[in-house]
Chain length 296, copies 2
Amino acid sequence: MIDKLEMFIALAREEHFGRAANAQGVTQPTLSAAIKQLEDQLGVMLVWRGSRYRGLTPEGQRALDWARRIVGDARSLRQEMRVARQGLSGDLRLAVIPTALTVVSDLIAGYAEAHPNVRFSVQSNTSIEVLNMLENLEIDAGLTYLDNEPLGRVTTVPIYSERYVLVAKAGHPLLGGPVRWADLADVPLCLMTPDMQNRRIINQHLAKAGVEVTPQIEASSIVVLVSQVVNSNLATILPVRAAEIFLKGDDLGSVPLIKPDASHTVGLVAPQREPFTPVLATLLDRARALSAAVSN
Amino acid sequence: MIDKLEMFIALAREEHFGRAANAQGVTQPTLSAAIKQLEDQLGVMLVWRGSRYRGLTPEGQRALDWARRIVGDARSLRQEMRVARQGLSGDLRLAVIPTALTVVSDLIAGYAEAHPNVRFSVQSNTSIEVLNMLENLEIDAGLTYLDNEPLGRVTTVPIYSERYVLVAKAGHPLLGGPVRWADLADVPLCLMTPDMQNRRIINQHLAKAGVEVTPQIEASSIVVLVSQVVNSNLATILPVRAAEIFLKGDDLGSVPLIKPDASHTVGLVAPQREPFTPVLATLLDRARALSAAVSN
DNA sequence: CCTTTCGATAGAAGACCTCTATCAAGCAGA
DNA sequence: TCTGCTTGATAGAGGTCTTCTATCGAAAGG
């Protein structure tokens, strides 16, 4: 039963019988049969049938919610028993928005040291992807914005508050002192792509300041943005925490962006399902401690 | 997997391999094997082994919590899909403390009419049993006291507030007007057995009034108590709502018990597991409506 | 009209489950 | 201490269920 629910979740995620089967490590006929049996056992159609996948029925959608719960809890059970057997161990899968990537090390540095049997995997994603993957049980927790766009049913732990700086090559004319958002008209910029919430936030501030900006370069990685800044006269806008790591040398400079002194909270998101697994509970504790340390 | 978790729950409840197997409709070797496999899959011992059942290990206790969740959610999934298929239907199992039995009809009268395919089963239990059965998934909801003893992780809907009356055969000397708890010294009484919370509440009030009472007859059913009252000079103490149904004729009389004007809240308890199944959600709605109607 | 993609179906091999029968350990009473 | 009962584990047979490979038919795209 639980296996079939796993396959059902995979099918809903992949929207394709073959790919879902592959993701589950079974053949396509096996997955087809599993879905069919699930439908027989529950007595309802879960998937619109045709010559190809055409989405979930309303009942299927509802069943998907339950399936995620059940499968998630079953995994939690297994993990908790493994922890009881051999101490804190297992995988902890994190998805993180690009501008929070540097915070990951603060979050997991001590953790990894204290619990060498816990393996971390970190991937960079948009905030929307983070939330989707959390729902789909593809990750255990995420780092993303907490207060700008709706989150859904998740547990949150705020960690720090983002503030923005303008980053440019040393000698750039705007690097003299604080820059207002309104000053950015006609400044050549490179920014994140619009699928990134960071970019949407920046757009909001620019719009509020009455400025329209067309970045010459868009990228989904801050490494790309900073590289551009180093090698051109473009400037970029980054959260302080994300920019710091690039400002160690003297080839780049930064100044605060003010008026407004924009601020957005970034923090940990995890499934709202208590009790938490030990591995996740420990991470949440670390996040809370980190949050306290940052605000002091 | 889910089948094995069901067997594990049954074993924890019955504390006996043979009985648990019987309750699950399988043979004892099948259940033994299932528990063994569960232990192998999870990699931990769940049950203390010996020549007989000796309780759960700490890991087993923890696993039991998860098992209840998973099995409960799996049942919810099945129920919700059946409701999607054929409208509100299925079983709704209620456990009720004796003094709230008359409220059941108020609660389910309209429900049963509106949804003829929902079958109700009602049993009378102590408040502790109600909570245990709720945990063990043996019932879907219960009616019990909400504010006297700790409840655990449950959803509650208050329905009405209990007030107490002294019930006695017509002509009993105390039936003239309100009676204080302190007046009950030396009054021959019959009361519920001490495993009933109702009795414990009454004991509290009597103790607070400085009175010690040794009932001549104890029973776990109010029908027994009232029958005694009808056929003897004993009086009894009952909540108004429970007494009303017996006071239609003129062979019995009742007077309020005052000083203090004791009051305890009785209401519906259900597992704290959202979303609720449709059958249970409907019951909770009815309870809230009933609560509003009563307090007007 | 032909090709490709997608999901369903058939049939065989093997894994898994559940049963009956039986055993060994512990406990109780004589 | 012996005997009989209770309790849970084990062995082995039978049957069910699952998964695989191979193949088909329908629909979409060029």
